[in-house]
């Protein structure tokens, strides 16, 4: 990724609209809550984009909206999981291809973590598809997921 892109935050939202992981990359503490709010707002935009129009078959939704100092991009997988990316607003031209690559890397990080059977060893054998109950983002088991997301963030030019 060209280092001019400044990644501010990444958010993963489950198909049932529960947050999986919200990871802000900014330094200040008071900004962190802002990204929770941002992820929540983007849910509305996701729904609107997905429900409107019959030709909504792209995973990458592009720029959802922009707030004061952040441009928010969205990506929805065919399994209805949503990934939200907040970029710092700047004058640099942002290429769709770069952002799509970041989103795909994030999707892979999620897939690798969720595919680990040892994380669900002690839960019921036949759970329904909802992982968010298992995925309370603060739990120590999901350490490697957070590490992978940080790795991608670093590659994309965020200061972790």
């Amino acid at each position: 990724m060209p280092p001019q892109l400044r990644l501010n935050a990444v958010a993963f939202i489950s198909p049932q609209n529960h947050p999986i992981l919200i990871r802000p990359f900014s330094q200040s503490k008071d900004e962190q809550l802002k990204y929770h709010y941002l992820a929540h707002t983007s849910l509305d935009v996701f729904e609107e984009r997905v429900n409107s129009g019959t030709k909504a078959t792209e995973s990458y939704l592009g720029l959802l909206f922009s707030m004061e100092n952040a441009a928010v991009y969205g990506y929805i997988t065919p399994l209805k999981m949503k990934i939200v990316l907040a970029l710092a607003l700047s004058d640099v031209v942002v290429r769709d291809a770069d952002i799509t690559t970041i989103f795909r890397a994030l999707h892979m990080a999620y897939y690798h973590s969720v595919a680990n059977p040892f994380l669900k060893l002690h839960t019921a054998l036949d759970t329904s598809g909802d992982h968010s109950a298992l995925m309370l983002a603060g739990s120590p088991k999901w350490e490697s997921f957070r590490r992978r997301v940080d790795e991608i963030g670093r590659a994309a030019g965020a200061q972790v």
Binding site: E58, M108, H112, D126, G129, R148, A155
Partner: protein, 255 residues
């Protein structure tokens, strides 16, 4: 399980080690498009066959352990003796074991195989195989959905299962898909890979009976894929004649 027939071991690590701060687009691409790990094809087949046998032993042990504890409790007077459950039933319906219901009613309607309901141990083994399949199916589905466009409707999802999932797991596509447009789909595979080489020296009927255990995990894989797609359905495998296998998928009302 993609591209299984090769001898490559696990290729280079997925995440580039020690990415420097001046990482370029290359490392980002490496993270996004890492090649899938590959495994020898026949090894996978042997492994899946052995899984069934190992779980048979394991679940026998587990149920005997549970029965022993139950027996001890009965003797100590803590638990009243439960009425003995008949192991083999012909056509009577038993309300407790729902799976027995479905195997006896479906196959006895067909009339081809005299269905013997599964014993307790076999039932436990089948449940464990299906649970493994659930997990595997969900994650294969997640992986396969990466670069494809969003699904348009339920039929599209079933077609995805028939084509992409079947090719990834069993190297071919489903031969026949039928639906009644009210939530019931029948997938027919004329030469289903896990049971295509199965034979028993006791004859065809015995081979068909044993094959039921080997399709438990594939049924779980389909069920897991469906649940990850957001549909809670019931998947029932039926083997009428080896190596042909049909899976009946029942989706809840409204989908």
């Amino acid at each position: 399980m993609t591209a299984r027939n090769s001898f490559q071991g696990a290729p280079a690590s997925m995440i580039p080690s020690s990415s420097s701060s001046s990482s370029t687009a290359a490392s980002g691409l490496a993270l996004a498009d890492a090649a899938p790990r590959q495994m020898d094809g026949p090894v996978m087949d042997y492994f899946l066959i052995e899984v069934v046998n190992v779980l048979a032993d394991s679940s026998k042990f587990a149920t005997s352990r549970v029965k022993k504890i139950e027996q001890e409790m009965i003797e100590a007077g803590l638990m009243s003796a439960s009425p003995p459950v008949p192991a083999k039933k012909e056509k009577e319906k038993e309300k407790e074991y729902n799976v027995r219901d479905s195997t006896t009613s479906l196959t006895s309607q067909k009339g081809t195989v005299k269905a013997e309901p599964l014993t307790d141990e076999e039932e436990a083994q089948r449940l464990r195989l299906e649970a493994i399949g659930l997990h595997v199916g969900a994650n294969i589905c997640e992986r396969l959905c990466r670069d494809r466009p969003l699904f348009t409707d339920t039929l599209d999802m079933i077609k995805f299962i028939c084509k992409d999932l079947w090719v990834a797991c069993w190297d071919k596509q489903v031969d026949n898909l039928r639906t009644n447009h009210r939530g019931v789909y029948v997938l027919q595979d004329n030469s289903f890979k896990p049971i295509s080489r199965l034979s028993s020296w006791e004859g065809r009927a015995d081979a068909t009976k044993r094959a039921r255990m080997y399709v438990a995990m594939p049924a779980g894989i389909i069920k897991g894929a469906l649940s990850r797609l957001g549909i809670q359905g019931v998947v029932v495998p039926e083997i009428s004649s080896l190596p042909q296998c049909t899976f009946q998928i029942k989706l809840p009302k409204g989908s």
